[in-house]
Subunit: 234 residues, 2 copies
């Protein structure tokens, strides 16, 4: 059983809590039984650590498990998981321009998987897909999504050539959600929590969509995106 923080594997686990090392190693941490199961089911490569001698994985002390955990109620398993790319694009794509909150990102991934928008393309300034709070908010659905970071303008231009129509959300949108018949191949673009979508990306959109509400200017980005994906679900 490993019980020292100085152990090289344990040091590496702590390092993987930061984006820098996740990017370098193309891997990330997964906590809890449910997420581990979903990862296995989808063929992700795992290196499992546990504080429970009856479970599969390298045994580490409960104290270390607690320290490695980022929640108040630590689970007894975690794993290093290799990132994996799915090669095909879904016909409905979710695109995120600088979404900042890990919880919002996780909620969006969860809803996107639920409504068949399984390819998600995010700007480099969007919070890390593999942030612990993001993964937690996906409730295991992250392993069903194809997650891509890319410069959005370039990607939009490529996708248009492939026949995708681009729908941007905007409180000044001209089309009301209830009145839209969505294209078969489409990209839904959502923006930053404070600033919305950048003007140069709005300019590339084929359509600007708004969700009608009684009197508030805007909905939470996770909610707005989920409502539109619900309406347009595959």
């Amino acid at each position: 059983m490993i019980s020292s923080r100085d152990n090289a594997r344990i040091k590496w686990l702590f390092k993987l809590q930061s984006k820098k090392y996740r990017d370098q190693s193309n891997s990330f941490l997964v906590y809890g039984e449910h997420s581990l199961e979903e990862a296995k089911k989808n063929g992700f490569t795992l290196e499992i650590y546990t504080s429970n001698p009856n479970k599969e994985g390298l045994l580490i002390s409960e104290e270390l498990m607690r320290e490695l955990s980022l929640t108040e109620t630590p689970s007894d398993v975690l794993a290093i998981c290799k990132k994996k790319e799915y090669p095909t694009l879904s016909n409905k794509i979710l695109m995120l321009d600088d979404v900042q909150d890990p919880g919002n990102l996780g909620t969006l991934i969860r809803s996107a998987v639920g409504f068949g928008f399984s390819t998600i393309i995010a700007s480099h300034q969007t919070v890390d897909f593999y942030h612990e709070r993001t993964i937690r908010a996906t409730q295991g659905n992250i392993f069903y999504a194809s997650l891509i970071k890319a410069p959005l303008i370039e990607r939009i231009e490529q996708l248009k050539k492939l026949g995708y129509k681009v729908y941007a959300t905007s409180s000044y949108g001209s089309l009301k959600l209830k009145e839209i018949i969505p294209s078969d191949k489409l990209v839904l673009v959502l923006g930053n929590e404070g600033q919305g979508i950048k003007q140069e990306i709005l300019d590339l959109a084929d359509y600007k969509v708004m969700i009608e509400t009684s009197h508030i200017e805007s909905l939470n980005v996770g909610v707005a995106g989920s409502i539109i994906m619900y309406e347009w679900q595959v």
Copy 2:
């Protein structure tokens, strides 16, 4: 200018960060210009504190303001705000059975106001309406909602006598959201993030609603509730 943590008013501000004192005094803390404006617009009574000598309010030091702030980027105003009850019930009511996460609660309040579900009734085990993270997630919309804590079973029985129909969300629901024509007067019940709605409350529902998704069991409760309120908006 107040700069000591031992000042009685400052001590009281710190106390109001806990639910106990908010309950006792029937008041809560509000941070930032936008929330203050919305509170004023809706006639809430405020006692304002600021670290900016050019702003309205009792002047306190920047250091105290930082300490009182619960976010990384503190604003320069905060206020003690008296709770206020709106006397009438909206025709569409949102009811929450033990929602736990302050962010989810705030998102739901924001969406409820947006879609005309302005009366929100929550069980006593639901997280505090006036939790700092809840208020933040409402983005100023909390001042438009009528927020009630009550025993749900009693309330459901009263509301049924007033002609309200009760719709409970359930992944085993028999009615698909897209196929429902909602009643004019209705109560939408959402449950706890992990457990869903308690059986004794489910038993009182007139209808059980599900949102169809491609393959996941459930959506985030803030998203699920928002999608239904969007469909049934006033």
